[in-house]
Amino acid sequence: MTTLAARRVQVPLWLTVVVGSALWLVAWFLALPLSTWVAFDVLGLDQASQLGHAVAFFLFDVPKVLLLLTGIVTLVSFLRSFVSPEKVRAALAGRNAVVGTAAAAGFGIVTPFCSCSAVPLFIGFLEAGVPLGVTFAFLVASPMVNEVAIVLLWGLVGPQLTIAYVVAGLVVAVFAGLLIGRLGLERYVEDYVWKIRAGSIDVDFRPTLADRTRDAWRSTLDIVGRVWPYVIAGIGLGAVIHGFVPTELVVQIGGRGNPLAVPALVALGVPLYSNAAGTIPIIEALLGKGLPVGSALAFMMAITALSLPEMVILRKVMKPRLLATFVGVVAAGIVAIGYLFNLLAG
């Protein structure tokens, strides 16, 4: 152990955190002046031209979003290290339907969960006596209200729509949970699930604050390392839309005049899963071109909540009828949110 530790140069962790945060702030405040300088002085683009507008937009948004992602994801990962699915499960077991479902949706926001954990989580919850509806509320909320989507929405579209997205996501999760709980679909859970005697574990390794910080930074590098190409591609495409796509076209296809726009966008969102990073910049550009708010919200929720790979994985624990009900209820909830917001904003 000593040989392993001795090989690393020991910089105190607090110093790394302070210097890192300072660098982050400097980069944050330099992003706007630098991007305008590069676009209009170095590249000599005309401030009034479409091309100049598109390039400046791209040069400013890319560093802004990547910085926001790095900062917020580190913070969220650190805070998340205090919440585990085990703690959530213990808090949810034996609650009544309404309280449990609302709590499960709330926990979904703060609990780490990747789609490959969906099955063990599903089994673990049910075995511990968490009702089926409550488990579903968690399964819906957790991927939908995730930090990458929230950061991109906040940074690119603004706080109002971000809050609308989070609230709408929780409403859909609670609605799906309560409805599925009511329908009494327990018999459509694959039979072997009920036969498993899930063990409980007691991980006695207590991470220190330094461990948590290091873990948070590692998972941030991991997440940002995975999504940055999509962010850049998405913002690039968004810049093209900003500069060149005519508003009339967007309004004509995706506008309120086309009643099929919301369900069509929801269907389109399913195969785009895990690409919230790449699609939100495009949605932002389309919003600027007159895409109604409700349609945009429904599209984003479909991207994060309904995913083809997750459905394939969940099929292992759910009979087709339960899986279809789950997908149908969530899709219906999202479409309803889309229409509602289009109506309210119109």
Binding site: C116, S117, I123, G124, I196, I201, R218
Partner: protein, 79 residues
């Protein structure tokens, strides 16, 4: 001889945890067998809800994290 088990359906993080475990074994020179458990029922039976889980000699030491090789090495030497 130690037994290290990586619990996970085979997603990206599980693969990386397995690679880290191999590296830890190589670093420490401890004799160990590495198994990858992909069966959902078995993963659930071990009480792991957040994959990947890491088990050393039957004891779950971590869940939901890609643990660094150095940390796994410490755990291997402790036990």
């Amino acid at each position: 001889m130690k037994v290290i088990e990586v619990l996970g359906p085979g997603c990206n993080n599980c693969q990386r945890l397995e690679a880290n475990a191999r590296e830890a074994v190589a670093q420490t020179g401890i004799e160990a067998e590495i198994r990858h458990v992909t069966d959902y029922a078995e993963i659930a039976q071990r009480g792991v809800m957040n994959t990947p889980g890491l088990v050393i000699d039957g004891r779950v030491v971590s869940t939901g994290k890609v643990v660094a090789p150095a940390t796994i090495a410490v755990w291997l030497q402790e036990g």
